[in-house]
Subunit: 229 residues, 2 copies
């Protein structure tokens, strides 16, 4: 039996591609603990599950206090972190989530909350750094076999913008031509039929695209393994 | 705050490809409840999380009572089922798992436990039928972008056997030549260099294969999106 004071909590790694130190990187939303335990360390948004809500409802409620829920383009469950000693004191079982915010939104944040580059996390609370790394790994894997990038992209974008998002989220360089070829073949992207107005650099106007679906789907079922249609 | 009597449990959908009604189908391991609540209905193996264990340890411990843990080739976390009313009475939060048993093992089962075809489940307890469907959907998706079939296959097999496993797990027909081509290109399979002895049907001896890895990995990262090696 569980000790009666065991708490079930949600924790969400909210990611957005943002500019840090002059270049686009994957950022994660963290708030700084004003009180002990671990005063001054940085935590993922989350909190205790209430009696009358399920975990997804709870995660969305907790996030609403840190970032407007309407600005979340995608939210999905990750693993449960259930090591009996993951936090000091009473046991806390954490159901973790991955949340994505599109490139062009700039949510208003409370004063204790800030975006940090995933590649240079501050001193993290408890096992929250492990959760961020788990979430980043899952995101990187899903970028290769699903359309999950819709959660990080604006509603319409040039291929160069999408490449910037992939490079930031993966942490390494990706070739625009290859990206366009692969995503095109899998029908992940749909051309809007319009072009961007030329930027300040005065180049050719770029064709604009949008994601075909705004819900996650596996984009690469084996052709050989598709169900008969 | 959670009511102090909230219980956290694990539930595992253990799958094996087996013969039902003369043909290979995906089977799931269920035990029949001898007592109320819901006496006579069929349940997934699982039970309460103890104070001194994490969820994976707990799931393996619970499974050991129903099927020898050594016979599990793969175990992974699925979603948490946390609807406050998913079971009557005190709240139970269920962390669910997917477990896979290879084709050639035939675990000894306790008398209340039996394999059932996933396509024709008996009267299921609580939301356990939903968990089975969730697990089957996850397995089918992962068959297309990972090497997860290693958990359902014997250590060495002919392509015709692997095709039988894919057909059973997916629930529709798959072409052997296509399967071999796709898995070969992705280096999922390694030829053992040996052949099977001709069967009773007296055909040509078939080339044998094994899975290159016995841990799960994503087999289809975009070529364009691989990290620089």
């Amino acid at each position: 039996m569980l000790h009666s004071s065991t708490v079930h909590e949600s924790l969400t790694a909210v990611f957005q591609v943002r500019e840090f130190d002059g270049r686009s990187q994957l950022g994660v939303l963290l708030w700084q603990r004003a009180l002990d335990p671990q005063q001054g360390t940085w935590s993922l948004p989350g909190g205790k599950l209430r009696e009358d809500e399920d975990l997804t409802t709870s995660a969305r409620r907790q996030l609403a206090e840190k970032v407007d829920v309407k600005e979340l383009a995608h939210l999905e469950q990750l693993a449960v972190f259930s090591d009996p000693h993951r936090v000091p004191g009473h046991r806390r079982i954490a159901s973790t989530f991955l949340g994505l915010v599109p490139l062009t939104t700039d949510p208003r944040l409370p004063s204790d909350t800030r975006w940090h580059p995933v590649s240079a996390l501050p001193r993290m609370s408890f096992d929250h750094g492990v959760v961020v790394e788990y979430a980043r790994t899952r995101l990187a894997a899903k970028l290769s076999y699903t359309n999950i990038a819709f959660g990080l992209a604006p509603s319409e974008f040039a291929m160069s913008t999408l490449r910037e998002i992939y490079c930031a989220a993966l942490g390494y360089d990706v070739d625009t031509t290859n990206l366009q070829r692969v995503l095109g073949r899998r029908k992940v992207l749909t051309p809007t039929g319009t072009t961007s107005s030329p930027g300040r650099s005065g180049g050719r106007p770029a064709a604009l695209y949008r994601f075909t679906d705004s819900r996650i789907r596996v984009t690469d079922e084996f052709a050989a393994l598709r169900p008969p249609s």
